[in-house]
């Protein structure tokens, strides 16, 4: 979901937990803590055979009771769980024996399995550990939690009884260093072995110098410009389209991220089956935009818009500055208001008090999660108040469509509709990058297929 900062330690913390299922490089759901899984023909029953001998960090062995506990906890929003809607259709969770879990749904939820593989919903924790997870996470992952200081440091140590064999590294310490210069200096002086997010303008320079390893991958996340649909001008599709036309995404990508990414007209994961490759972004057309705005009743100079950008993503601030110039050319007066992350959350996310803003999301390869929660009228992340009956209908339909190909087509239609209506302005997928000392080995295994999690299980340090 959201990164909580460019140098977030959160991604390292994920090494404490393992999920019941995961995905491979091609985003197929594959077993993890479950040895195998099967889905009944009616699509309502899922049976998981658990891997025997999996140990939790507290020494206990994983049983079906732990899985039931974990699922039930995740299904209950009162625990603060973020993914409860994954389990909305679940009728019962049965544990016929210690290594078997049967989940029964009351209606088809096509994305159920892949949602379990995504973003923590399928994480298995020891029974009864829910209350301590916040302070001292405990799971079945390759590293055990040692300590954490918010905003500063996370320390993990190797879990020797990890089911897939102990990790190479004895200890992982992740530190948040928000200043890029300081972070890069730390890597260059050898104080740090590895840094997340090399400043975009330095990647080329560091690659050329060849003294440090650079790992780049695509995509890390995607960005879009948000238009608040309760703001009167944005209720008119012409205005939204005109705004889309004002922006030259290539130049913006170059300006804000030094070209570290690729523009896209669709937020679907580019290698996923549902990605609509036919969509091509509208080219910049300031004159056309002016005409469209004029037509919609907004002649030059009549639109004064506040653009709220969060300082949590410095490149959003850069983007906003570039946008201001283009919008001025199109006769729209854009004023930037910088917000801290906390203020952005409260103003834009919760209160929906904004006209225009910009945000990024992790690459949600699971299309239901992506489109339902972000664009359905009742979607949990629909902070722009998008309300399009056609999209609502399509996203509901996809949920009960079992056939993968059929589902993919529905989502392609959603993408087409989003593009036509320009509910949001899609910008780009952004590259991920890691810089490391030459002594760090196993860097090819570090990035999780979803492009966001960092996995230290197979990473080592040369003497």
């Amino acid at each position: 979901m959201h990164q909580t900062g460019t140098a977030s330690t959160g991604r390292v913390l994920q090494n404490v937990h393992n999920s019941i299922v995961t995905v491979d490089q091609d985003l197929n759901v594959i077993p993890m803590l479950a040895e195998s899984f099967e889905q009944s023909d009616d699509g309502l029953t899922y049976t998981f055979r658990l891997r025997p001998g999996v140990k939790f960090h507290n020494g206990s062995e994983m049983t079906s009771a732990d899985v039931k506990y974990s699922f039930e906890r995740c299904a209950n929003p009162d625990t603060g769980a973020v993914n409860f809607e994954v389990f909305n259709a679940v009728e019962s969770i049965d544990t016929p024996d210690p290594l078997t879990v049967v989940v029964t749904l009351n209606q088809i939820n096509a994305p159920f399995l892949s949602r379990l593989a995504e973003n923590g919903a399928g994480v298995i924790m020891p029974e009864g550990s829910g209350d301590v997870q916040g302070e001292t996470p405990i799971g079945a992952g390759p590293f055990r939690f040692v300590r954490r200081e918010f905003g500063n440091e996370v320390e993990l140590e190797r879990f020797d009884d990890y089911w897939d064999g102990p990790a190479y590294l004895e200890r992982v310490i992740a530190r948040e260093i928000p200043e890029p210069t300081v972070r890069l200096t730390g890597l260059r002086t050898g104080e740090l072995h590895m840094i997340n997010d090399i400043p975009a303008d330095r990647i080329g320079e560091i690659e050329d110098a060849g003294e440090l390893q650079v790992v780049k991958w695509f995509p890390l996340n995607w960005d879009f410009v948000n238009l608040n649909h309760t703001f009167e001008p944005f209720q008119d599709a012409r205005v939204r389209r005109a705004f889309d036309m004002i922006i030259d995404k290539e130049v913006l990508l170059e300006g804000a991220l030094w070209g570290q990414g690729a523009v896209t007209a669709s937020p679907s994961y580019p290698t996923s089956a549902s990605f609509n490759a036919d969509l091509v972004q509208r080219p910049q057309d300031i004159e056309g935009a002016r005409a469209l705005l004029e037509e919609a009743g907004y002649p030059p100079g009549s639109l004064d818009i506040v653009f709220k950008a969060t300082t949590n993503y410095p490149y959003h601030i850069e983007s906003a500055q570039i946008l201001v110039e283009w919008f001025r050319m199109a006769g729209v007066n854009l004023t930037i208001e910088q917000l801290t992350w906390a203020d952005w959350l409260s103003q834009c996310w919760v209160d929906r008090d904004f006209q225009m803003t910009m945000m990024n999301f992790f690459t949600l390869w699971e299309p239901d999660f992506l489109y339902y929660s972000l664009f359905n009228t009742v979607g949990a992340f629909n902070y722009r108040s998008v309300s399009d009956p056609e999209i609502d209908a399509l996203t509901e339909e996809a949920r009960i469509t079992v056939d993968p190909a059929e589902r993919a087509e529905i989502y392609k239609a959603v993408q087409q509709r989003l593009f036509d209506e320009a509910h949001d302005i899609m910008l780009w997928f952004r590259n991920g990058s890691i810089g490391a000392q030459p002594s760090v080995g196993g860097l090819d295994t570090i990035v999780h297929p979803n492009g966001s999690n960092l996995n230290f299980h197979k990473v080592w340090l040369n003497a």
Binding site: D201, T311, P314, E318, E325, T335, E337, L339, D343
Partner: protein
């Protein structure tokens, strides 16, 4: 006015006047879009004939930004200091001139406020009010007020005990006239000198707030914001920091020299 005709006076005064002129005149002659025009092909380019001070990370011309940014920086600093003087002056004078219970209460309050670091105060006020130019001025202004009030109070107290105030009282001068005729003119030099030095601090405070995302909002140029934005490029494009940095440094130095010279010039004993 002979006091200004020293090396220090000429230099300090010259800098201050130049900066003021730039702040006032530049926006009249240079369109403000010049400060935000971007050139993606000339990002972080060094000083050249096209861009005499080079460009920043968005290819904006640093000469225009620093020249047009003068207005913002000078205005924020000037308005904030003016505000703190406007609030601090009556508080300080009442406290120092009347003394007694009012003085005790006011100064206890001022002492309390002084325990809050000015930047912390400004940061909190900015967070409460939201980031924009006016609120930045208010935040810095409020944060500086206790200092000014304390200094003015001290001066007013000193002046209130001078025999000429006693003489004027014996001559039937009322309190209001006393303050206007005797107290104000005599504390003015101290206020002007302190104000000059506060201006320098206000410019830096704006930079500090910019560092934390408050203060001037992009794409507008202010010196503080420019230094703030340059921090990621200090090693590869040092001019992005040196240009606004030099502007701030020269102004601060100029203001300090000017303050020192003002101190001498405003002293009637050295006037001729």
């Amino acid at each position: 006015m002979r006091g200004f005709m020293t090396g220090k006076g000429l230099l300090g005064g010259g800098i201050v006047i130049t900066m003021l002129l730039v702040a006032i005149l530049a926006p009249l002659f240079i369109p403000d879009t010049f400060a935000t025009r971007m050139d993606m092909r000339a990002r972080l380019s060094g000083p050249s004939l096209d861009h005499i001070f080079g460009t920043d990370q968005l290819g904006r011309d640093l000469f225009y930004r620093v020249v047009l940014g003068a207005q913002t920086s000078v205005m924020i600093a000037g308005a904030a200091v003016l505000m703190s003087v406007v609030i601090g002056l009556p508080l300080g004078i009442i406290s120092g001139y009347y003394g007694g219970v009012i003085d005790n209460v006011l100064m206890r309050l001022v002492d309390t406020l002084l325990s809050f670091p000015a930047l912390l105060l400004a940061l909190t006020i900015s967070a409460v009010l939201g980031p924009n130019l006016t609120n930045t001025i208010i935040a810095i202004g409020i944060a500086f007020t206790p200092f000014l009030a304390r200094i003015i109070r001290g001066e007013a107290l000193r002046v209130a005990q001078m025999p000429y105030v006693e003489a004027a009282r014996a001559a039937g001068t009322t309190d209001l006239k006393m303050i206007i005729r005797h107290v104000l003119p005599n504390i003015m030099p101290a206020i002007i000198v302190q104000g000059t030095i506060s201006l320098a601090f206000a410019i830096l405070a704006e930079a500090g707030l910019s560092f934390l995302g408050l203060g001037t909002q992009p794409p507008d140029a202010s010196w503080g914001l420019m230094i703030q934005a340059s921090r990621d490029y200090l090693d590869v494009a040092p001019w992005t920091a040196l240009v606004p940095g030099a502007a701030v440094a020269i102004t601060v130095l100029g203001l300090n020299m000017f303050g020192d010279v003002l101190r001498d010039v405003l002293d009637p004993r050295t006037q001729t």
